[in-house]
């Protein structure tokens, strides 16, 4: 576009004033290094009759452009997060499976073979030396270790991303559990629309269907079990704790989806509820079985 034409580079250049859609994409996609007196130029070029009309058009068009950009960005954000947390789980699970296979195999040639990702890492970094014949084992260890590294990096990405996609949910659930809930619901909007009773059992679908078919008791909690509010509560009261937690998570997801405001008081409210619930089992033995995740 040449800069001599009177309206060169303005968002309205070549745009029909009646075509809001075209104006909105010009606003979103246009670029120019320096501003000019756009209202005057728009009138001069006949885009608008007067300044007042120009501003009216600008108003309608910026609102439309920004609305479209916002929805697009938000859709992209929670979808990115869902992919990342699923990829993270896949990498972790696969790395663990491979580590098991590796330990089994390495055990046949190395009497002091260890287990798990740690062993894969020590093999791949040359921390333990095997015979030249066992190159395949070392190579498998390297791949296992780098898959575990990828899982760690994905976890870091999720930890950074969840607070921007869903700040209240991330604060209340922790970023990884928050991302898993969004993933299980199929997006933040879906999560925001779920009643808290559904959030309470997200991730326990098998148990829930068994219950609905009449084969089993109703599940008390899904993946929110890993949250300290549930896990750290006496087994007798875990159902209540899960209900209280799910209630707050539902509110957090709704605020994140519909308004985006920060509500730090949600955390205090949850703490208060959990303290009350735990007080009921004060003094009872077996506060926790101590299982890890």
């Amino acid at each position: 576009m040449s800069d001599d034409a009177p309206i060169a580079g303005g968002w309205f250049a070549g745009v029909d004033p009646d075509d809001l859609e075209a104006g909105a994409s010009a606003i979103r996609e246009g670029e120019r290094s320096h501003p000019r007196d756009w209202p005057a130029l728009a009138v001069e070029s006949g885009f608008a009759d007067d300044e007042r009309e120009y501003y009216d058009l600008l108003k309608e068009t910026t609102a439309r452009a920004t609305k479209a950009a916002v929805s697009e960005a938000e859709r992209a954000d929670d979808r990115q997060l869902v992919h990342a947390v699923r990829a993270m789980d896949d990498c972790e699970r696969t790395a663990n499976e491979l580590a098991e296979r590796l330990a089994e195999w390495a055990g046949t040639v190395d009497s002091e073979a260890g287990t798990g990702i740690e062993y894969a890492r020590s093999l791949s970094s040359g921390g333990r030396s095997l015979e030249a014949d066992d190159r395949r084992i070392v190579s498998l260890a390297e791949r296992t270790a780098s898959l575990a590294d990828e899982a760690d990096e994905l976890r870091e990405f999720v930890e950074r991303r969840t607070p921007t996609v869903a700040p209240n949910l991330a604060a209340l659930a922790g970023p990884v559990l928050g991302a898993r809930l969004i993933s299980l619901a199929g997006g933040l909007e879906n999560l925001a629309k779920k009643p808290s009773g559904t959030i309470q059992v997200l991730g326990a679908e098998d148990a829930l269907f068994a219950h609905l078919r009449g084969h089993a008791p109703s599940p008390k909690h899904g993946i929110i079990y890993v949250h300290d509010a549930v896990r750290g509560t006496h087994p007798d009261e875990r159902g209540s704790a899960a209900r209280a937690l799910a209630g707050k998570l539902a509110i957090a997801a709704r605020i994140d989806h519909y308004s985006g405001d920060l509500k730090p008081e949600l955390e205090d409210e949850l703490d208060g509820r959990i303290r009350t619930i735990r007080a009921r089992t004060d003094g009872k033995p077996d506060a926790d079985g101590g299982s890890d995740e």
Binding site: I27, H34, P35, R36, K59, T62, A63, V70, E74, G260
Partner: protein, 212 residues
């Protein structure tokens, strides 16, 4: 010393027996209202705090404004209530959604989802020679942002800048951070007044400047 006059369209009015700054417009963030008037909470608004502290903002009412870091529209909605055409730039999608709502009832408030570090992405929309640039981006490189956006400002215009120390460096002494920011700003601006917003906003400094 006499307090500078408030801009036209901003008044001190009584809400539940307390004198507070107020503008006329639709409520945005649950602030108390009285007829058409709504209270302007200086604890939630750095520009509100600047006015409350009696800083010489040069605002008279009716100005053309470029507002950087509009977030969900708390402050920029008050600005649009007393100013003229107001361009509101925010780069995070979530708050921008609320900004859209605040802009709904304000015919001269133009919301833009854009990065204030990249003025070339909105120079085809925001007009030249605006009277005021208000900046509250709370992100690293706040002086840089102000310098980049100087191109929009009229020669006799004003930059009203809120600097958040922790956004530049959480570990450093805020006073040293402000010192650096002032120093860097001097590349493109004459600083007219600098003041801490203590009591309203922790570790923030407000700066009034004009392009040099």
């Amino acid at each position: 010393m006499s307090e500078p006059a408030l801009p036209d369209g901003v008044e001190r009015r009584s809400f539940d027996g307390t004198e507070r700054l107020a503008t006329r417009g639709e409520a945005v963030y649950g602030e108390p209202t009285d007829g058409d008037w709504r209270a302007w909470n200086p604890r939630r608004s750095k520009l509100g705090a600047m006015l409350e502290l009696g800083m010489e903002t040069g605002l008279a009412g009716g100005e053309t404004v470029l507002y950087l870091g509009a977030a969900s529209g708390t402050t920029v909605s008050h600005v649009a209530d007393f100013a003229g055409p107001t361009y509101a730039v925010e780069f995070a999608a979530r708050p921008a959604r609320d900004l859209l709502e605040a802009a709904d009832s304000r015919p001269r408030l133009f919301p833009l989802l854009a990065d204030a570090r990249k003025p070339e992405t909105y120079a085809h929309v925001v007009e030249s020679d605006v009277d005021v640039v208000v900046q509250d981006v709370a992100t690293r490189g706040q002086a840089r942002v102000a310098l980049e956006n100087r191109r929009f400002l009229a020669d006799d215009g004003r930059l009203l800048l809120a600097v958040k120390a922790r956004s530049e460096n959480v570990a450093r002494d805020p006073a040293a951070v402000f010192e650096d920011v002032r120093h860097e700003l001097a590349d493109g601006y004459d600083l007219l007044e600098c003041r801490r917003l203590d009591g309203y906003h922790v570790d923030h400094e407000a700066i009034v400047a004009r392009p040099r």
